[in-house]
Symmetry: D2
Subunit: 348 residues, 4 copies
């Protein structure tokens, strides 16, 4: 009953097997391995983007920071949702790499609305050299609250950005979970909707630790390479990153794992809805659930062996009737039985 | 006949097996995995340093940059050999992380001499607020030229540094190769010789991609953790780093692989000495050889299927009699036969 | 009728005279001039802080950025009002110098309330190494809206900060205007109220371009000096900065000029209150007025020769009845007649 | 007898008068003052560069750091003489602003030779993404040793730079002193010789504190403006910078002051040549002299009331016969009598 995070789960056996298979003989380091040639082509095919620059890094923090830095100047401000991962959970990594600052767009459900985004951008526009300049927009898909932008919603935001001459980045740490929920193509969810660069996540969806940085404008490629090396993110035995991504993209493994995670989440949501002291904050669309429940119930669950985060208070101390928010995350490795066990515990 | 680099070779099977074994069930991310608890103790035992702070990162560039940044201020200058990896091959990563600059100490064989180091440090001392301030010293063991500092030589350098109130870092990307060559203990080669922090390499000696950052003064631990996270170098599924280091340190695997690499290097050097148009630049002590040989001979070797770097000219174009420098690096995975094959080709 | 900014006015003649007087013979550069010795003592006397470190820079942006950098770490977040100058008008200078980020505290009248500040600080506290760490608090006195914190209000904010182990900086670009309005001592408005460092403004209040950085904890002095030099803010012919500040602090010139500016502002507010289509946003306490008035009236004033900023729309285009916000700033050099002329124009 | 530095002398009375004259009424801040319009045209006329972007800052450190940052990327290395001011005396300011590093070109007399420069640039070229990339070249004219590049020598260096696709910056803290010594035009010494940007010094040659940043390619202008603001180097009451530069450039004042300083230096050198225990290190061409003399003689001079730097040892302690190096700098304000007094003291 480990629902604390999708990076607490194991890697998919096919990913591990690919890593083992890559471990034979000599291979040039630093991204010049033959497997990377395959991966580059796989990613371009997946995105229907034959010119895209494709690079691998070890995690989402570095993918986001390096892409945003490549799109920004030190005097810029990057627009993102107030609860974006780049704002809350990366210890100033985006600022470190880009030297830019962040402008937070207020949201309810972690999704920026076009009007609020526009007003925030306009507010940065009248100070000339005195204020921060407009840098890129960053959209998180799946959001931190587990919600998903529709294709039209993405397009509405990128249209605003491009109207101001701004580029748009997608933090796709849970890219696959959104994609299978929307049942669209990667191209539709990205460049066809106005996205310029993507942090394409593998780690949370079955890899050991790999994310692809996809840059649709190849003119930015060399700068990205220099930034990656300078940040210490160019792996020497790079084949072990390549192999993970190769397996991830072969035979639709990445879509299967995302579907499995989303299915477990749906099953879980279904079970939660049956509990009368519990409210779902958002209709879960991908693999994350936020719910409100009395403290005493959280305590009972955690004491009973469930693992998940309680976001806004200590589950063990305070008014037992106070509502606290819990977060549940599913991943590809969970079983129907595991979810059922959680629901059974919940229903006491 | 792949002698281009020790990061082009495979990982040791035991390392891969440990990674596979770690891939079961849920494990807390970000370094809180149980395997890391074991690794921390292993490293402390290896270094006889029960209080040392121990962290894992993916490569030497990040290990060096993060440790030096933790030891420096933005107005400092870091002292290192003129051919140090942090100067030549890290695309400004040490400067990016530390904001400090580097002062290069001239060397012949990549080893700093006490007198030259002292004169460089003294030269930075009389400008008060106008000049860079004295930051840490960084020593590379094995050096970029394949030479090794004796324990007394290390001590002589760290004594000078501490006399100026400076700390000392060891870039130990090839730590094990030096250690088995000197036949001393890790403690003797580090803190007993005045070293304050170590980049303890695994990647070049049998791991997939892992280095331990060892900090003997635990007061620096929290700053290091923040810098690692901010640099995007805290792995989410950290157990896969931990597992590599665990296998590496178990039953002396790391010493065995280093001994194997050094033995192949000695065998290779023995063979090279028999070639009359070839000169070894330094008596190889670890797993790296630099040698001078006519261009025509380099061309013959490369055409014949040998892989290695020719450092100072195009082996295919120019005066065939001109002497060019070649670099050969051995690793744990090479066989006596493989080396013999190279020598045979050399002897024509 | 030039009410656009208090840095558009001239320097006080006594300041210019002091600069002329300083221009005789040789004087050591870089802050070692004899006048600076006098200034240091003057500032310490004014603040009743015999141990304070005192440095001069050319403007408020550098004073704020250097002080905040000296109080911060690169992984910190600095707390300030949402409309603070450091957020809106310094083109990322605070982030450039400190490498930290800013957390914006929502305000109505540019003054932070203790409860909102506390909730913002608490929100940054539960993410361990993943989130930004708590850096200093920065309070602007006079605020960007022309409002003033009472001594109790300052104390309430610094108490919260120190409860979290945070230090507090005061952006005192208009320090004197606040001081004479509150009729308190510099010590009362700063260290006695929990302030650790002050950007003590001279430029807007009669100097040519000088601000004193006052640091009550002298342990930070050397780091500040290094940061100032590294930022290019250590003047070579420093005596010309010293001379300005010396004149500014002699015989209470700085208090006289602030009283004059505030008096003109009060006179102006009195006049504005008589205009029935005009509303003051805040009761002006220092030398800044924000007021709402129909576009057509703004247009009439600007066409009639008044200079001031209209903040939220083009005064020449759009609905003539729409209310737009104007900002008026007074300085020491304005005359009663000048203000009267503006009011007369307003009353048509 | 104050020969320690040309920034220890006073400003020229005409500069002070211009500052006083500028102090009337209201003037827009931040470089929008009318005097700056005049200055811009003056500088363009002086350099015969009608398109050049022209900005003012307070000192040479900020001028150099801002220009080099505008010409560099964070992964670059900037080439300069080993004793350049940007290396030795700016406390990492160039690195802070540019994030690039410096590659030092060894020199004897502070002048880079084309061959050595070329070899240093070539040495940075074969590491691809691993090594620093080639950034701009920075030439100091007058050098730190008081020597001057001829126009042909400048051209030889900039030709090498442009052959590698690199731009060239001139640190002209003592631009005027070199210009009058070479008896050429500003255009000839800069863009006609391949220079792209110039730190055009005023401070050391009669101003209070002002340097013009001259950028011959106006495409870099906006980036420079943003960098200046972000560095805190955009003055609010900018007219006081403008006024200094206006006076400096009016009626050739800047050439007169430079000629005066150089003449005093020549007079001084003439006198020194008559002392038999004293050797001039270089034939002084501008306003700086380096000379070797026994410690006992330095001590006698300093005790006798002469002020200058002894570079490589304590004049008061040690072998009285040991040769120590003294540095003498003249400025516009020195009199023939003042120099004569020094020589008289020397001749005992």
């Amino acid at each position: 009953m480990f629902f604390s995070s999708d990076n607490a789960g194991p890697a998919h056996p096919k990913v591990i097997e690919a890593v083992m298979a890559a471990n034979t003989g000599y291979a040039p380091g630093y991204g010049a391995d033959a497997i990377m040639d395959t991966v580059r082509q796989q990613v371009r095919d997946v995105f229907e983007a034959p010119e895209a620059a494709v690079y691998l890094v070890i995690n989402g923090t570095s993918a986001n920071a390096l892409l945003l830095a490549t799109m920004s100047q030190p005097w810029d401000t990057i627009f993102c949702a107030d609860v974006a991962h780049i704002q809350e959970d990366e210890c100033n990594a985006p600022e470190f790499y880009s030297q830019a600052k962040l402008t937070l767009v207020p949201t309810d459900d972690a999704k920026m609305s076009p009007d609020v985004l526009r007003s925030k951008i306009e507010a940065e526009q009248n100070r000339g050299v005195h204020g921060p300049q407009r840098g890129p927009l960053s959209i998180t898909q799946v959001t931190e609250k587990g919600t998903i932008y529709t294709l039209d919603e993405i397009k509405a935001l990128t249209d605003i950005a491009s109207g101001f001459g701004m580029k748009t980045h997608m933090d796709g740490a849970r890219f696959a979970n959104a994609l299978v929920a929307l049942d669209c193509s990667p191209a539709e969810m990205t460049w066809k909707a106005g996205i310029d660069t993507v942090s394409f996540g593998g780690t949370k969806n079955g890899a050991m630790g790999v994310e692809a940085c996809v840059i649709f404008d190849p003119d930015l490629a060399w700068e990205f390479e220099l930034r990656r090396k300078r940040g210490g993110h160019l792996l020497s035995k790079h084949r072990f990153l390549s192999a993970q991504m190769q397996a991830y993209l072969t035979d639709g493994l990445w879509l299967d794992t995302a579907r499995a995670a989303n299915a477990r989440c749906a099953q879980l949501a279904e079970g939660l809805r049956g509990h009368n002291a519990l409210t779902l904050q958002y209709d879960p669309q991908a693999n994350i659930i936020f719910f409100d429940m009395p403290r005493s119930e959280h305590k009972r669950m955690l004491d009973g062996g469930a693992f998940y985060y309680v976001m806004n208070g200590d589950p063990n101390e305070g008014d037992p009737d106070a509502l606290l928010t819990g977060r549940l995350v599913t991943d590809w490795s969970m079983t129907e039985d595991g979810v059922q066990q959680f629901i059974k515990l919940l229903n006491g």
